[in-house]
């Protein structure tokens, strides 16, 4: 019974990890940017949800589309007016600039909204149901289902729409994409916007489960990165698989080895995967 409970716990959280990593993986896949500010975008999404909940009483699930839209616009502008300037520079430079963006965002949030711990607690926050001795919190189940829906919508967008094809074309063959008339600067901005929107959605839901602080993003950037690399950087399926694997690894480690070790085991797993299969669990390209 404990085993089943731990399995469910791992899967439910793993779904959210997957969604978090999806945005990071997309931005990396298309533009070769390791977005250090990814966690800060998640943080911003969490605050957006928090303020809409606190000021206007919007249910966090209802306000999710608004959070997504906000973060999309923010991400679009960030790429269009800042990151596009250095997008073809060395990897190190983009790394530095996203790091700078992260520092600025975190500190602005700290100055304006203080370091207080915030929580989004709708009436059903602690509600749960039991099936055969396994307790499932409603919020976690709904979060999981929302991540599944969002991931599917996102994959459809990327695979089936004209915009998605343009993004993939830009990612795979920049020169050819440009020759066929794809507005690359715009596509880059849209891509970053989508990445930010996914981060925002993940943040909105993270904020329903965990406290919100200005510095919550640092650890989440790292987590997203681990998940993305675990599954295969740049592949969308990889992010989702990586998320589930990390969720399960953490859950089982914490139960059967001890709650001090989830990080050690997760990073150990990462190193192992990089040695055995450097392209990640479902990655193809080198």
């Amino acid at each position: 019974m404990l085993f089943l409970q731990v399995l469910i716990n791992g899967l439910l959280l793993g779904g959210l990890y997957g969604l978090m990593a999806l945005g990071m993986s997309l931005i990396w896949g298309v533009m070769n940017i390791v977005n250090i500010a990814h966690g800060a975008l998640i943080m911003l999404g969490a605050y957006a949800t928090f303020w809409m909940f606190t000021l206007w009483g919007w249910d966090p699930f209802v306000s999710l589309p608004a959070t997504i839209a906000l973060l999309f616009v923010y991400g679009y502008c960030l790429q269009r007016f800042l990151l596009n300037l250095v997008v073809r520079a060395q990897l190190f430079l983009t790394l530095l600039i996203t790091f700078g963006v992260e520092v600025v965002m975190v500190n602005l949030v700290r100055i304006f909204w203080s370091s207080d711990l915030r929580q989004v607690t709708p009436g059903y926050a602690g509600a749960n149901f039991s099936v055969g001795g396994v307790t499932v919190p409603y919020v976690r189940l709904w979060v999981f289902m929302t991540t599944v829906v969002l991931s599917i919508l996102f994959l459809l967008l990327l695979e089936k729409t004209r915009l998605g094809r343009a993004i993939r074309a830009t990612s795979e063959e920049l020169r050819a994409a440009r020759l066929t008339g794809i507005p690359v600067a715009h596509i880059y901005a849209v891509t970053f916007g989508l990445g930010a929107a996914l981060a925002g959605a993940a943040g909105g839901m993270w904020g329903m489960l965990f406290p919100i602080t200005p510095i919550m993003g640092g650890g989440l950037t790292l987590k997203s990165f681990v998940v993305a690399v675990l599954g295969g950087l740049g592949t969308m399926m990889g992010a989702i698989v990586g998320g589930l694997v990390l969720g399960l690894a953490e859950s089982f480690t914490s139960t059967y080895i001890g709650p001090t070790y989830p990080n050690a085991i997760s990073f150990g797993l990462l190193v192992l995967i990089l040695i055995v299969k450097p392209t990640g669990l479902v990655g193809r390209r080198g």
């Binding site: 404990l2 602690g126 406290p211």
Partner: protein, 401 residues
């Protein structure tokens, strides 16, 4: 005024401000404390506490040494919650800023290296943010602390648990792997043994842990009567919220930090009901002294100025400044060594309680057991005495309104 006239004024002003770093009738208390990073929240409690107390001392006539009144002045840096930076900043405070005395940083992890600086330069450091025994068991002479010993944190609450009916039989111990919380756990094991309470779970976790669902699943399967958690406020918040979602309700849950903080109770709302906590200080405790005539008076001034409720961190920080005022006056000198000796011999009544240090430098003080009842913090047990009726056992989550 002519151009040259302006220049002269500017020059004079510049000279006035740069000539002497510190005024001759000032006592400078230097500190590096976390204003950003992971301890920004707790760090702010100390920054505000220091500011309020320094102003109050100055308003009451300052510190009198040999018939002359000195003003207290603060020189503060932000250590960004980084122990390495903290050491560099304290070194700078001592060597280039030449402050008179040091106030401490926040957290045991930072105080341990930072206190080595005060020891090296033989400048006293009075700190209210680090309680681990590891700060005080190195034989240092210049470190003083106003938080009770970490090993004793759970003593009173375990003692109380053994007196409740039905008696607590089994306990689970969960603690973060930081120096302070490990010390708390070391003590807890001893107190549990003393009270003949079975320990059915004993694990440490990473302080950055957000998700406790797996721990909660294990706890639920072992169903201990008492759950003791030593960690940071964020850990406690996560633990309680997730315990509710996982439907894990022991008869009694205790946290080292969180319950005494108003913000904590507000954030958790109803989920915080029946949770136990410990605190060395409460605003309605019957203590007081010079500068702030009562704990209540201090709490009110603090609330008025900063707009949030003072907790024991704040009171402990205020006590550090007061300890200096009394010690300097008793020493009758600003000499660091003489002030140190006066601190070691200090026995003063303050708004924080009786400030008297043990030979190790740590304050001799017990913990009050508190419980959250209907959103309020109720002191239930202290120094072997029951102060109010505890709500025990806590009702199951599904039975709560």
């Amino acid at each position: 005024m002519t151009r040259t006239g302006w220049c002269a004024v500017m020059l004079a002003a510049a000279l006035a401000f740069s000539g002497t770093a510190w005024g001759a009738d000032e006592i400078v208390l230097g500190s590096a404390i976390s204003q950003t990073g992971k301890y920004a929240r707790e760090g702010k409690f100390y920054v505000d506490a220091y500011a309020l107390t320094v102003d109050a001392v100055n308003k009451a006539g300052g510190v009198k040494v040999g018939g002359k009144a000195y003003k207290l002045v603060l020189k503060m840096y932000d250590d960004q919650s980084d122990p390495n930076l903290s050491v560099r900043l304290f070194t700078r405070l001592v060597t280039s800023d030449k402050v008179n005395l040091l106030l401490g940083p926040y957290s045991s992890g930072i105080t341990i290296p930072a206190s080595a600086v005060s020891e090296k330069y033989e400048i006293p450091m009075v700190q209210g943010g680090g309680a681990s025994g590891k700060i005080f068991d190195r034989g240092y002479k210049y470190i003083f602390g106003t938080l009770p010993k970490a090993e004793f944190y759970f003593q009173s609450v375990i003692e109380a648990a053994a007196k409740f009916t039905p008696r607590v039989q089994t306990a689970a111990l969960l603690y973060s792997n930081e120096a302070f919380d490990r010390s708390v756990a070391d003590g807890a094991r001893q107190w549990l043994k003393e009270q003949k309470i079975d320990k059915v779970y004993d694990e440490e976790y990473q302080p950055a842990t957000q998700d406790f669902t797996s721990v909660l699943a294990v706890l639920k399967s072992k169903s201990p009567d008492l759950v003791l958690v030593a960690g940071h406020e964020e850990n406690a918040l996560n633990f309680i919220r997730q315990a509710q979602a996982a439907d894990m309700a022991p008869k009694m849950m205790v946290f080292t930090v969180g319950p005494p903080t108003a913000d904590f109770r507000k954030t958790l709302g109803k989920a915080a009901e029946y949770v136990f906590g410990i605190t060395p200080w409460l605003p309605d405790m019957d203590v007081g002294g010079e500068i702030f005539k009562s704990a209540r008076d201090f709490a009110k001034q603090f609330q008025d100025r900063f707009g949030y409720e003072a907790d024991y961190h704040v009171a402990s920080g205020a006590a550090d400044v007061l300890a200096y005022k009394f010690a300097i006056e008793k020493a009758g000198s600003l000499d660091a060594k003489k002030v140190r000796d006066a601190l070691a011999a200090l026995d003063a009544e303050t708004m924080y309680g009786r400030v008297k240090f043990e030979p190790t430098g740590q304050i001799a003080m017990g913990q009050v057991v508190v419980q959250i009842q209907e959103g309020k913090l109720v002191p239930v047990y202290a120094a072997g005495k029951t102060l109010a009726k505890p709500i025990y056992p806590a009702p199951k989550w599904s039975m709560r309104k």
